[in-house]
């Protein structure tokens, strides 16, 4: 099992022939991901990295049975790329791009609701099911196949958690980087739900940060429906109010979206909450014993 992506996913890359797209497509292929081609409008019919290039996502779906797409196009065109993928019938759309205007995402979210698809990101490291499919920019070698699901709004902090889980002798079922923007395709709660329903996942690491109420939402859901131990951490305990901390979505607006408030809610909902990001792996070992 695992969720979202696996070895039989037919993955395409939008923005395939660009610098970022090429580099990461190559890394994904080297990891063993089943990349079946890519899309660059105007370059259809060519070959790139030994795979077919298409003008439209539609064509990639028809000819290669593409069902997962990873997007590396510049921010001004990313909203359009997401909508194209949804309309063409792609089931899992992973948007790596950082810097998409919020008003674009408001429209995109509304549009893609009409289709049977799931958007991960934008502004995220992607999704990986270790030893099966890496759909994103994360370093593959830190992951091990296993039973811990990871959900996070961050990139390198996710790698940190993965590394700790691996070093603690466990592995990962699927790691989902949901992204650091104010509006993301899949919320913390939705990602936790996917992992909670995955028979292969035995424990979940949930990493959040300041801003918004996604973690509180997820925590309340876990309290009612959770069947597996969840370890949680919120980055930004020392962040000042009203300043954007790197991620567009990481800004404290009121008293409810500080790290402290979120951790209090998570604790109250039975999540094994750690104050130190260095304790994520160790806490998971403890949580699984209970």
């Amino acid at each position: 099992m695992s969720v979202l992506v696996n070895k039989s996913s037919n993955v395409i890359v939008q923005g395939f022939t660009g610098k970022e797209g090429s580099f990461h497509a190559e890394q994904m292929i080297a990891y063993g991901t089943n990349v079946v081609g890519g899309v660059t409008p105007g370059k259809g019919g060519q070959k790139h990295l030994d795979k077919a290039v298409f003008n439209t996502v539609q064509e990639a779906v028809e000819k290669e049975g593409a069902d997962v797409s990873v997007i590396f196009v510049p921010p001004a065109f990313s909203g359009d790329a997401i909508m194209e993928a949804a309309e063409a019938g792609i089931k899992v759309i992973v948007c790596i791009t950082e810097g998409i205007p919020v008003q674009d995402m408001v429209k995109v979210k509304e549009y893609i609701q009409k289709f049977d698809c799931r958007l991960i990101g934008p502004n995220c490291p992607g999704v990986i099911t270790p030893e099966e499919a890496k759909v994103g920019i994360m370093p593959g070698f830190i992951h091990r196949k296993g039973s811990i699901g990871i959900v996070s709004r961050s990139g390198t902090l996710t790698y940190e958690a993965v590394d700790q889980v691996t070093k603690a002798g466990m592995g990962q079922s699927t790691c989902i980087g949901i992204g650091g923007d104010p509006i993301v395709g899949t919320t913390t709660k939705e990602a936790v739900q996917l992992l909670m329903n995955d028979p292969e996942t035995e424990g979940i690491v949930m990493i959040g940060e300041i801003g918004g109420n996604m973690e509180a939402d997820a925590a309340n859901w876990i309290k009612e429906h959770g069947t597996k131990p969840v370890v949680g951490f919120i980055a930004g305990q020392t962040a000042p109010k009203g300043r954007t901390m790197g991620h567009a979505g990481a800004i404290i607006g009121g008293e409810d979206d500080t790290a402290e408030a979120k951790m209090r809610i998570m604790e109250a909902c039975g999540i094994h909450t750690v104050k130190s990001p260095a304790q994520i792996g160790a806490m998971m070992v403890e949580a699984l014993k209970k």
Binding site: Q103, F233, G236, T238, M245, S276
Partner: protein, 400 residues
């Protein structure tokens, strides 16, 4: 990006929103010329002098004054221009140093001729993250702190959510006007006001509009008296004319410099500097510093390419802060190779010569062990770590 009041009003006016008319001035001579124009336009000798800084509550610190005539206007302009204005929102609040006022707005007295016949409202537009929709928030309790109003009298705060694909609808504009208790000419004016305001919001890719107060005048006009405008930085590529409105004087000079090198830096007031790749890990590193007995002196995300040049720039920026007693470098190398970052740290350290504060370098990920060897064998006074907990312990150690 935040705009000044006068810039925000210019933007609103372009979309047909009725505003309190005014002219920005940077010195007293200009202020006097502005006064002549404004008093002639409004047919009123009285005017308002408003300090232009990026902080609310300007009136509380003496940054907004009503002048009965030209002489008073000159007096206030002289006093406000160049003052260090303290408001509850400037750094350190009313106890802090305040912010230097470089510009003032000479504005008409929008409440004339009959202050008591005017009614104040609150109107804002923002994007609701959870519902992924724009929302108009409005209240009859204008001129007050809306958070306090929402807490004490939640029934007086109304919200109108906008469908992303259809946009603002006619019935919604009418609802706003009715809920604010308007009728007749004022009702019509308000629907027009809301329509233009929403067009300005979407047209400029704003993330926040706050009109507080917006007033109904004695002759039933609806006028924006103040406005706070925040634009979406990610959308500025679509609005080069708005991008030019950035006022670097309103930002921390070190943060402005960091931006030049593509470093994402936020100054804080602690004693341990940090340099990290990735925003989430950077915040987590600040938290680790606190748990280790220190206080973070900054947030600094060096991004994906942590080469020698960037590391050196980051060092220079962190060391500008005299409070810094130690520096923690935390890099999780994925695509970035740790050995290259380590070499960058060593090179930057040697280039800069005399760094007097202890440095802790934690490199994890690709080639982490080679990186540790490079640091350990460099002969520099740099502590190296691989695990995050080791780095945390080293922070406690050097601060002890």
């Amino acid at each position: 990006m935040n705009l000044h009041e006068y810039q925000g009003k210019d933007l609103l006016k372009k979309y047909g929103v009725a505003i309190q008319e005014g002219i920005m001035a940077e010195n007293v001579d200009h202020a006097m010329k502005a006064y002549d124009t404004i008093s002639e336009q409004s047919g009123n000798e009285a005017c308002v002098i408003k300090a232009q800084i990026h902080a609310g509550g300007r009136g509380k610190g003496g940054g907004v004054k009503l002048a009965k005539n030209k002489e008073e206007c000159r007096e206030h302009a002289e006093n406000i221009l160049g003052m260090m204005l303290k408001t509850p929102q400037t750094p350190g609040g009313m106890e802090g140093p305040g912010k230097l006022v470089r510009k003032i707005l000479i504005a008409e007295d929008a409440y004339a001729p009959d202050f008591s016949a005017c009614k104040e409202y609150y109107i804002s537009i923002l994007t609701d993250r959870e519902r992924r929709q724009n929302v108009i928030i409005y209240s009859t309790e204008g001129g007050m702190d809306i958070e306090a109003v929402a807490e004490k009298t939640p029934h007086l705060v109304h919200k109108e959510y906008i469908d992303p694909s259809l946009g603002l609808q006619g019935f919604q504009m009418r609802k706003v006007a009715f809920n604010l208790g308007l009728s007749g000419k004022a009702f019509k004016e308000m629907t027009k006001f809301i329509k233009s305001l929403y067009a300005a919001f979407t047209g400029s890719d704003a993330s926040l509009f706050e009109i507080n107060p917006c007033i109904k005048t004695a002759d039933d006009r609806i006028v924006a008296v103040d406005c706070k405008v925040t634009l979406d930085d990610n959308a500025l590529f679509r609005h080069p004319e708005l991008a030019e409105l950035r006022d670097v004087h309103e930002e921390d000079p070190t943060e402005v410099e960091a931006k030049k090198y593509d470093l994402n830096y936020v100054k804080l007031d602690g004693n341990v500097g940090c340099m990290v790749n990735g925003a989430g890990l950077a915040m987590a590193t600040m938290d680790i510093i606190k748990l280790s007995g220190g206080d973070p002196a900054n947030f600094l995300d060096v991004g994906g390419t942590a080469n020698a040049e960037r590391v050196e720039q980051a060092f220079r920026i962190i060391l500008k802060d005299e409070n810094v007693k130690a520096i923690l470098i935390n890099i999780f190398g994925g695509i970035v190779r740790c050995d290259r970052v380590a070499q960058g740290v060593v090179d930057a350290y040697k280039n800069m010569g005399n760094i007097n504060v202890p440095i802790i370098v934690r490199l994890q990920g690709t080639n982490a062990d080679i990186a540790k060897t490079i640091i350990d064998e460099s002969g520099l006074k740099v502590h190296s770590a691989i695990l995050l907990q080791e780095a945390a312990d080293l922070v406690s150690e050097v601060l002890a």
